[in-house]
């Protein structure tokens, strides 16, 4: 690990250009632009590129174990690196479910061996995601995977007493319950946002209130028991208002929004293309505006991808028969740039906050020898992504590193391109391409 890499002329979080010197897995020096030199060092011309701390995704579906036909830990983490990530949280809804120390340790170990990003398994809240009995949260927390985020994502912990117990129980190890807020009775058979479009095209509606009712309940529960709550993929204007209200009250709640909810609306369902079928569903233009405003004012803490790869056959069919979900690891940063930076609502320091520092803090991976989400400062881990904000590209699912092609941004021109990603000083992506690990 004695290799030295110089990122020449990079602009840390969009600031003035400097030379970043990465050595022994840390940021060894930050020098004036063009002044760094080191014998035998690899030099990356980063002129014009923005340097951000390695991105951290709190919400990734890697599908392994169980659905390796859609994605594997190796393919998904390779896609993550290509998207500028250095850490991902792997959701628990695998087969078998990640509800025991054994499964989370397996995911953690396979991720470590793949070497693309740090893989932090999310533990299931309930056994088998069944919503009835608490999983062995303590065993998962104590395992080698050191699980701190617990979620039945894909399903809602709808039983209020189970939710209360989970919120209380994880306090013992500073864990957090990440809730997929979806009142199940209000969403039976639901296919898309309930509103003008669903009424017209005849798909069963998924009303905003089914999300908001659970968030309202959960913030009150979290307040009552003094626990930490994280709201997954918040998607409605009402949800933003509720979280804003809860934070004002001092509730220890954090919230995430996905890139697709920052950009896309339910109008896209009109062609019955299941690429746009996702849970929670794409909402209205008013909701998109509300989540952007919420992200800009800090009500929403982070952007998380909810990267949900699916096989072709699970999307090449009738809308009602198709799977929920869309890929997102390789487009997240571009969508945030398009919707928040290029619109003037956020700067690159804000991007570093919502895509790196805050998710790392919520996941409690922001300290220790594998710390993530740290600032770009001397002595910090050399987790760095270089972005060319001036580049544009047309998204093509077939060209992506993920094993699945269900990107909702297919055919769209998006700004920004990840040029290079460094995980503790080692390049995982260079010149926009993943750097295969040589044995």
């Amino acid at each position: 690990m004695s290799t030295t890499t110089i990122l020449r002329g990079a602009r840390p979080t969009g600031g003035d250009p400097v030379d970043l010197v990465l050595r022994d897995g840390v940021i060894a020096e930050i020098l004036d632009e063009g002044t760094a030199s080191h014998e035998g060092a690899a030099v990356v011309d980063a002129t014009g590129l923005v340097a951000l701390p390695g991105l951290v995704d709190l919400h990734t579906h890697l599908r392994e174990p169980g659905r390796e036909d859609a994605e594997t830990i190796a393919s998904g983490t390779r896609a993550a690196a290509a998207g500028g990530f250095t850490a991902v949280h792997a959701m628990a809804n695998t087969t078998p479910v990640a509800d025991t120390a054994g499964v989370v340790e397996q995911v953690w170990r396979i991720g470590r061996d793949a070497g693309w990003v740090d893989v932090h398994p999310v533990g299931a809240v309930s056994v088998g995601l069944d919503g009835t009995q608490l999983a062995e949260l303590g065993a998962m927390a104590d395992s080698a995977a050191r699980v701190r985020v617990f979620s039945d994502d894909g399903k809602c912990v709808h039983d209020p007493i189970l939710m209360r117990r989970a919120l209380e129980y994880v306090k013992a190890f500073d864990g957090v319950v990440a809730q997929h807020a979806q009142e199940p009775r209000l969403t039976e058979g639901a296919q898309m946002n309930e509103g003008v479009v669903s009424a017209e095209i005849g798909l069963t509606g998924w009303p905003a209130v089914a999300e908001e009712a659970i968030i309202a309940r959960d913030v009150l529960l979290a307040e009552h028991v003094g626990s930490r709550l994280h709201v997954c993929h918040l998607s409605t204007a009402g949800s933003v208002d509720l979280v804003r209200w809860a934070k004002k009250r001092g509730v220890d709640v954090t919230a995430e929004v996905t890139p697709h909810h920052l950009l896309l609306t339910d109008d896209l369902a009109r062609d019955y293309d299941p690429t746009f079928k996702v849970n929670p569903p794409l909402r209205t233009a008013e909701d998109v505006e509300a989540v952007r405003a919420g992200l800009a004012d800090g009500t929403i803490d982070i952007v998380a991808t909810d990267h949900a790869p699916h096989t072709r056959e699970d999307k090449d069919c009738e809308w009602a028969a198709a799977a929920f979900g869309m890929t997102g690891l390789e487009t997240a940063l571009s969508v945030v740039q398009a919707t928040m930076v290029d619109t003037g609502r956020m700067n690159w320091a804000d991007v570093a906050r919502v895509l790196s520092a805050a998710p790392a803090r919520i996941g409690r991976i922001d300290s220790g020898d594998r710390a993530q989400g740290r600032p770009l400062a001397v002595g910090e881990p050399a987790n760095v992504v270089l972005v060319d904000p001036a580049a544009t590209r047309v998204v093509d699912g077939a060209e992506q590193a993920t094993a699945s092609t269900n990107t909702p941004f297919r055919g769209r021109e998006l700004p920004g391109r990840v040029v290079a990603t460094f995980l503790r000083g080692r390049a995982t992506v260079l010149d926009g391409s993943p750097v295969e690990v040589t044995a």
């Binding site: 009775r185 039976e188 058979g189 309930e194 509103g195 003008v196 479009v197 669903s198 009424a199 017209e200 095209i201 005849g202 798909l203 069963t204 509606g205 009303p207 062609d271 019955y272 056959e313 090449d316 069919c317 009738e318 809308w319 009602a320 028969a321």
Partner: protein, 337 residues
């Protein structure tokens, strides 16, 4: 437009052209020899994922009267998530050289997918998809209304008229559509087609059976059937079928859309008392199959005002017109339907 997927896609002129063509088709159906040679050598596939003997027979009759070869492909029982995929079925029909595919499917949007996914070159006719659309039903309803009421609206006698002038629409007609709008593709299709043809539609239903978003539809909405009959005085009243499962709801109960059948009938059924309040010229319609005693009384169903049986017959003429316009290549007016 190469397909008939939704009444929202049809312009006023296209709709009138279909009705005019249907009138010509209907005129041939009184003859002793009903068969026309028009579509000889063309193949029409009835692809039915949902059991609907009535609609299938209607399309089959229409295609056969036009001398098309008809293949009935019943995929009923194969749910959307089991069995052969829609894509593979479509590719199979493509390989077999289907010229038109008439598709009935429980999934909203399935015909749209058949028409647009690039699997199939055939013209696609939506014969009912989920809660979305059933355009030929709306066309046959409009045809029936035009036959019975267009002359009256123009100041003539209130009687069926088989010689309605070509180009006649339904301007000024008042229609009440009553019942389970939420789950009804018939209602969705009718609202848009009738509005396109100039009619004024009032939907009447308990609030639980109206979709969120209905306020953007080109119609009025009422929760009160008696008030609508009094204030709107519809020229045509269309009773929608109420499905039995709507009464119980799903799961552990509490999801029922109305308290019980008796209450539904009291508030929204076309009973003899309400039947008697209709204007002398008004007609009673129902897309079938009826629940006698629930949404419609036997008195209403069997009354001289009822055109329910005639709707079935008109269905054949309208579907002949649709298949003819889609497959004959006669697009002289630049519209292909």
């Amino acid at each position: 437009m190469r397909h008939l997927l939704s009444t929202q896609d049809i312009s006023r002129d296209e709709a009138v052209r279909i009705l005019d063509t249907a009138a010509q088709m209907a005129a041939t159906q009184g003859r002793e020899i009903k068969k026309l040679p028009t579509l000889r050598g063309r193949t029409v596939v009835n692809l039915f994922y949902e059991d609907s003997t009535r609609t299938r027979i209607s399309f089959e009759t229409a295609a056969k009267r036009l001398s098309a070869d008809v293949i009935n492909f019943s995929a009923k029982g194969s749910s959307v998530s089991k069995g052969e995929s829609l894509k593979d079925t479509a590719l199979t029909l493509q390989a077999m050289g289907a010229d038109a595919v008439v598709c009935r499917h429980q999934a909203s949007g399935a015909p749209h997918l058949l028409a647009n996914a690039g699997w199939l070159d055939a013209a696609v006719v939506n014969a009912g998809d989920g809660m979305h659309q059933h355009p030929t039903q709306a066309l046959l309803d409009a045809f029936t209304m035009r036959r019975h009421l267009a002359t009256y609206l123009a100041g003539g006698a209130a009687r069926p008229d088989d010689d309605v002038a070509d180009g006649t629409d339904l301007a000024g007609l008042r229609v009440a559509i009553v019942g389970d709008v939420l789950h009804s593709r018939v209602a969705r299709s009718n609202v848009h087609l009738l509005a396109t043809l100039g009619a004024h539609v009032t939907l009447v239903a308990p609030p639980t059976l109206l979709p969120v978003g209905v306020q953007t539809w080109p119609c009025d909405v009422s929760f009160d059937l008696d008030a609508t009959l009094r204030d709107v005085a519809p020229d045509a009243i269309m009773m929608l079928r109420v499905q039995r499962e709507r009464m119980s709801g799903s799961g552990s109960g509490g999801g029922a859309f109305f308290p019980n059948p008796l209450e539904y009938t009291r508030k929204y059924g076309l009973d003899p008392r309400r039947l008697a309040t209709l204007a002398p010229h008004a007609i009673v319609m129902h897309p079938g199959p009826m629940n006698r005693g629930l949404e419609i009384s036997a008195e209403a169903a069997d009354s001289p005002r009822s055109v329910i049986v005639e709707q079935v017959g008109n269905g054949v003429a309208v579907r002949m017109a649709v298949l003819y316009l889609l497959l004959s290549g006669d697009n002289s007016e630049g519209t292909t339907l």
